[in-house]
């Protein structure tokens, strides 16, 4: 949140404090600690703090900060009060990479934090928060000395995610292989080492599907920034409804033109094929094992 604000302010050149913050960020993390001290004095009513350890030295890549801030944003924004949370004020704290929020009235967030403090089973968490916690747990396991901590006055003890913790969901492995037809706008195609296609779905989400280099090479249609129908395979989580390892099988040619010749072929053959069927609706009902309703065309 802070970074997003920072970039926005920098771009507009309006905010002296943010410009100063930017200078500190570009120098080093140590410099950032100075900023933390300054910011802390402005926040005397701490509520919820999320912390990511940066041991042994408070240095790191800017990307780490971006990812962490993005995770915090995701933790805070889900739920009914999602819109409101965008304006939530945060502070950067001294020590580890940490973000502190003012009090919030989001009941969903409070409930999820209480759940986290009480158990390491995270099935009941909101799916987006669950995703963040799963990512943190995975990262903490992969990197010794790295830990995450969430504290709040109403929590009896802090939520600590480290190499020894085991925050997990029992539904996490409910992945099945599915095939889908997906329509969307192709925003990117290709790539050097891992060729893929970025598809903007009608709901605004972006889906990345791995592609075959040869398929793209032999495709004669320029599909970039156009609507397309694609057939994909993917692993689909029947509980969380997430996709992963999506792979493009083919571009499906979709046509909105009425082809009179094709339609005549359909009806010529259809007249013979359905000659013995009196009522279409009744015939379909029979196929489905239902009693005929005696209706239909």
């Amino acid at each position: 949140l802070l970074l997003t604000h920072l970039y926005a302010e920098l771009a507009s050149g309006k905010c002296f404090i943010c410009c100063w913050l930017w200078r500190c960020l570009t120098v080093s993390w140590r410099e950032l600690v100075t900023v933390k001290r300054w910011k802390r004095s402005a926040f005397t009513s701490p509520f919820t703090t999320a912390r990511r350890a940066m041991k042994p030295h408070p240095t790191g890549r800017l990307k780490t900060l971006q990812v962490f801030v993005s995770d915090i944003d995701e933790l805070l924004r889900v739920g009914e009060a999602g819109q409101e949370q965008r304006d939530l004020e945060v502070a950067v704290l001294k020590g580890s990479l940490a973000v502190q929020t003012f009090p919030t009235s989001d009941a969903g967030l409070l409930q999820d934090l209480l759940l986290l403090a009480g158990s390491q089973r995270i099935d009941s968490l909101h799916s987006r928060r669950k995703g963040v916690i799963e990512r943190w747990q995975k990262t903490a396991r992969a990197s010794k000395g790295l830990w995450y901590q969430i504290t709040a006055p109403f929590l009896a003890r802090p939520v600590v995610i480290n190499a020894d913790s085991d925050y997990h969901a029992d539904d996490a492995d409910q992945w099945v292989q599915v095939e889908r037809y997906v329509r969307g706008e192709i925003e990117d195609l290709g790539g050097h080492s891992r060729p893929n296609a970025h598809i903007r779905l009608p709901d605004g989400k972006s889906l990345t599907v791995a592609t075959d280099r040869e398929m793209l090479r032999s495709d004669k249609v320029n599909r970039l920034y156009k609507q397309a129908m694609v057939r994909i395979t993917a692993e689909y989580n029947v509980v969380t409804r997430d996709y992963r390892n999506a792979r493009l099988l083919e571009f499906v040619e979709h046509d909105n033109r009425f082809d009179e010749r094709e339609f005549k072929r359909l009806t010529d053959r259809g007249a013979l094929a359905w000659a013995g069927v009196e009522e279409a609706g009744a015939w379909v009902d029979e196929q489905r094992g239902n009693e005929s309703r005696g209706s239909g065309a």
């Binding site: 329509r183 979709h254 046509d255 009425f258 082809d259 053959r269 259809g270 379909v284 196929q287 239909g296």
Partner: protein, 85 residues
């Protein structure tokens, strides 16, 4: 209209010109194409159509095929449960 989900009886009526409502079905079909309204074809309806006529006779480029998978099976089960309560 956002989209159509075409059922088997519609496909039969569209394919067989001797049906009473064939011209209406054809008009709906053409109007959907003209408006660019997606027409979804469930693979279940396709299977039923295939009983008497090949699915490849249909103008498949005009349809968007809807596969049936494990998640659809789960939803169907829950829907059936609700309907039978």
């Amino acid at each position: 209209l956002i989209a159509f989900l075409v059922d088997t009886s519609f496909l039969i009526t569209l394919a067989d010109p001797t049906r009473r409502h064939h011209s209406i079905a054809k008009a709906y079909f053409q109007e959907a194409l003209r408006r660019g309204t997606p027409m979804y074809l469930s693979v279940i309806a396709a299977a039923e159509f295939q009983v008497r006529q090949s699915v490849t006779d249909l103008p498949l480029r005009n349809f968007e095929v809807l596969p049936f998978n494990i998640d659809h099976a789960m939803t169907t089960g829950l829907l059936t449960l609700e309907l039978t309560r």
